[in-house]
């Protein structure tokens, strides 16, 4: 071992001891990965604005628009025109290969650009025009171009086409921003894929084209038979869709070949380093192979995947990244690293790390409300690791482990991992998960596989072999990546700001912030005489709000295949190849809908407070409470404090409050079976947040849990309100375990904080494993571990109210951090930084 390697090892050890994970990773990773990691242009918006230097990409918008103009009077059906627009973009856009990269593919033209699709929504085009920082130089000239593009698409964008479809009253309520999140359309949302068709190494794009050609020829023959039949319209429609699919596949092969050509020319004529020349030729070979043909090795497999994602994200704005990378790429890793040994594990890590980096840099220009809700990232890309195969056997493999090692080296904030835990997961895999958590990555989060498989079967009737293949469709909800199981576009719009449910009980459905009637016209709260009546009003409001959202999404879904088809997504989906229908057509999809329930727990704490202080102890009347809420608690501070402090809160293993949570969920679950998606399937709810708690804080008014307008809302999911879980982490899990995670809802997000000292050493691993086994025994479907770090503790010093539950530990003694003297707090923070706290 050379001295340099020894020095690096020592440095790394020192840095890791001091919990300086970023710097340790910097030293540990290869030169290539270090370069590529630092090459990333961070695309997440902060406060709704992109980082300095990041610019909107005008090239795609121009290419797309110029082709649209050309085809405006073409007699082709829309799906073919749209496919041609995409092909025109892919054939003519700038493509690049980053130095030291082995993988290629990006939706923008250059690394610092953010792809802008002008055909999605006019309001998005207005935002590009008005963006203070993201218009490239020369600003005036480019603004003129943006304006011209915007003018062309005014009235023609997808959203413009969708608007008339909605019920105007529903639309007004949704656009008010009080109860929902964004607008429903199929070219913006979360799209799962039929990975069982396209990622199992059985076919490449050329194989699909060949099959389409066959089907087209056969159907063409049918159509030309002497007997004219009434199915002709349907048949022509199929032909159109297949043609459109072919166009996109050919364009996909075409752009890959453009990358190959770039690589060959630079290798032959521009690159002087012989090693890099070899790498470029390898890239060329890879891009000539995929996506036309199925991959043969790990580099090709990753490249195939990236192309699919790139093409998909050229076709639509995708806000998630459903994937199961260890499952679908694992066989290639096994062959390259373990069997043929054409890659060393370190070389494989370079590829895996770069694969994550390619995902981390993806960005599509999104509307401001979406950027604000997703502080710092472009979307929630939760990759699914672990779990079982279709037979129920453990699916973890060496690539599962390698992904976690790579994650610790590249330390990107996105993608993150959701690990499908089951009882047969081996210790060596658990160790990797533990190491990621210890090193402050904040992921993987754990999903309870047996519970979620049963959940998928219960809510959506997926057969067990398909349910077992599930991936996270967005951040939480399982969806099988199978022929009839995959959901092509889950609209973010099916997201409810649930705090409004309890608010509307007091206002009879009138929203005091946006000043309009949104909810149900339930009786005057002051007139309700017992808790049952009160609870019934709550149920009515819940139904009203969910109905509005579901109606809107269903309407949009029904029209999606014709107004906003997805020929590329269809081209890689077996049911579409077979049927000639668009991927968004609901007739061949089993259905996997869910309503994301933001701000859910506020309802529980509020109902519990009302039950205790109004009906059990009769300390206040509903009339008094209604008045206090109307006045935003002003002049009622003593009363407000009672509702904060003297009422039981969720998350403390208190049977009374917990029973209210279960009751609320079961009412929603009952209603979920009445609401149907276009495929005829159920609409269960899924309590979680993104940054919804910040986004909605000025939209939700005063509530009976003591909240005032403007106060931050709770963390989300079924996590207790900040600082309100006073009985420790086990009590939180106990509360959560009273929910049945199979049938009471789709899934339930739970965040917990752990302290680094608990997790140190072998003891820490044993402790964590025992904790995870307990979590699993309690039948809870999700848990995300965040480490208490010095930042958390400093925040606790500033806002002790929110951090009352933070416990710090020293050998044998634990104390609530906020109770400790300032001087000692500072000391503890110092120790935490040093890994001693």
């Amino acid at each position: 071992m050379s001295t340099t390697a020894e020095t690096i090892d020592r440095d790394v050890e020192e840095l890791e001891k001091n919990q300086e994970w970023w710097w340790a990773a910097e030293k540990k990773r290869s030169k290539r990965l270090d370069y590529l990691r630092k090459a990333i242009w961070k695309k997440g918006a902060i406060g709704g604005l992109y980082a300095p230097g990041v610019k909107a990409d005008l090239e795609r918008a121009q290419l797309h628009t110029e082709k649209a103009r050309e085809l405006e009077f073409s007699p082709d059906p829309f799906v073919i025109k749209f496919a041609k627009m995409l092909a025109h973009v892919l054939d003519n856009k700038t493509v690049f290969i980053t130095d030291h990269a082995q993988l290629v593919g990006y939706t923008g033209s250059l690394p610092h650009t953010v792809a802008w699709d002008p055909s999605c929504a006019s309001l998005l085009n207005h935002e590009v025009y008005n963006d203070p920082t993201a218009i490239p130089d020369p600003v005036e000239e480019n603004q003129a171009i943006i304006e011209e593009i915007g003018t062309y698409w005014a009235g023609k964008s997808d959203l413009d086409k969708m608007m008339p479809v909605f019920d105007p009253e529903d639309l007004a309520k949704m656009l008010s921003g009080s109860i929902g999140w964004g607008v429903p359309m199929s070219r913006g949302g979360y799209s799962n894929k039929d990975y069982e068709y396209i990622m199992t190494g059985k076919r490449g794009f050329q194989d699909i084209i060949d099959e389409l050609d066959k089907k087209i020829d056969e159907l063409d023959e049918e159509i030309h038979k002497p007997v004219a039949n009434k199915e002709i319209a349907e048949m022509v429609d199929k032909l159109n869709h297949w043609e459109a699919m072919k166009i996109t596949l050919e364009a996909g092969i075409g752009i890959a070949r453009r990358y190959a050509r770039l690589a060959r020319i630079t290798a032959g004529e521009l690159e002087t380093d012989p090693l890099r020349q070899q790498e470029l030729l390898k890239i060329a070979e890879t891009c000539e192979r995929v996506p036309a043909h199925p991959p043969r090795n790990l580099q090709e497999s990753f490249q195939f995947d990236i192309f699919i994602q790139m093409l998909s994200r050229t076709e639509a704005i995708e806000g998630a990244w459903p994937a199961r990378p260890d499952y679908y790429h694992g066989a290639y890793y096994e062959r390259d690293v373990n069997i043929d040994k054409t890659l060393t594990p370190e070389e494989a890590l370079d590829l895996i790390g770069e694969f994550m980096i390619r995902a981390a840099e993806v960005c599509q220009f999104k509307p401001k409300w979406s950027r604000e809700g997703l502080q710092g990232i472009d979307g929630t890309w939760v990759w699914t690791l672990g779990g079982v195969d279709a037979n129920g056997d453990d699916a973890c493999n060496d690539l599962t482990i390698a992904f976690m090692k790579a994650a610790r080296l590249v330390r990107v904030a996105n993608p993150t991992f959701g690990f499908r835990w089951h009882p047969a997961v081996k210790d060596e895999v658990m160790r990797e998960i533990f190491e990621c958590l210890k090193q402050g990555l904040g992921y993987p989060n754990l999903r309870h596989d047996p519970i979620l498989i049963a959940n998928s079967m219960h809510w959506h009737g997926h057969p067990i072999e398909e349910a077992r293949l599930w991936v996270h469709q967005a951040c939480m909800s399982p969806c099988p990546p199978t022929k009839h199981g995959f959901q092509p576009m889950r609209m973010a719009n099916a997201t409810a700001n649930c705090a409004k449910i309890i608010e509307y009980v007091f206002t009879s459905g009138y929203d005091p912030i946006v000043n309009m009637q949104v909810g149900a016209e339930t009786p005057d709260a002051a007139e309700l005489t017992d808790f049952e009546q009160f609870f019934n009003a709550w149920v009515e409001q819940m139904k009203a709000i969910f109905s509005i959202l579901v109606r809107a999404v269903n309407r949009a879904r029904l029209l999606a295949p014709s107004l906003t088809p997805r020929p590329f997504l269809s081209a890689i989906s077996e049911r579409c190849i077979e049927s000639g229908l668009d991927a968004c057509d609901s007739t061949l999809e089993r259905g996997n809908a869910w309503i994301t329930a933001f701000t859910w727990v506020e309802n529980i704490d509020s109902l519990a407070a009302v039950k205790k202080l109004v009906f059990d102890e009769k300390k206040y009347t509903l009339g008094e409470l209604k008045e206090a809420l109307e006045k935003n608690w002003e002049g009622f501070e003593q009363m407000r404090l009672d509702f904060v402090r003297k009422a039981p809160k969720w998350g403390n293993d208190d049977d009374e409050v917990d029973a209210i949570m279960v009751r609320c969920l079961r009412e929603a679950a009952r209603f979920s079976k009445e609401l149907k998606c276009p495929s005829g399937n159920n609409w269960p709810i899924l309590p979680e947040n993104v940054s919804g708690n910040i986004h909605y804080s000025n939209i939700v008014g005063a509530l009976p849990n003591g909240r005032r307008l403007g106060d931050a809302l709770y963390d989300g999911g079924i996590s207790p309100g900040p600082g309100l879980d006073k009985n420790g982490p086990t009590a939180v899990l106990k509360s959560c375990s009273k929910i049945n995670h199979i049938s009471d809802g789709r899934a339930f997000l739970l965040n917990q904080r752990l302290s680094p000292s608990q997790l140190s050493g072998e003891n820490g691993f044993r402790l964590w494993k025992a904790y995870v086994r307990s979590w699993a025994d309690l039948g809870i479907d999700h848990i995300q571990f965040n480490m208490v770090d010095d930042k958390t503790l400093r925040a606790a010093q500033k806002e002790p109210e929110k951090y009352q539950e933070v416990i710090v530990r020293v050998a044998g003694y634990s104390a609530h951090f906020v109770d400790i003297s300032r001087k000692t707090q500072d000391n503890i923070i110092q120790r935490t930084i040093q890994g001693l706290g």
Binding site: Y35, K38, A39, I40, W41, G53, D91, N92, K93, T94, V95, F96, I97, T98, D99, S109, L110, P111, H112, R258, R261, L262, I265, T266, L270, E271
Partner: protein, 56 residues
């Protein structure tokens, strides 16, 4: 009048000599990269900052 085909950055398509690629090296604050943009051989190059006459 200069045309793209006169530029050393222009790489003609074998199958169609009316078209080719403009290939350049780029560098921004974070990374260096090679990039390519399809162009017509006879596209006017007079206003192009990157035009470099080919030395024959």
């Amino acid at each position: 009048m200069a045309q793209c085909k006169d530029c050393e950055r222009f790489y003609v398509l074998e199958e169609d000599d009316s078209r080719g690629d403009c290939i350049q090296k780029g560098k921004d604050e974070r990374q260096a990269y090679f990039y390519t943009k399809p162009v017509r051989a006879e596209h006017e190059a007079d206003g192009c900052d990157s035009f470099h006459p080919r030395k024959n």
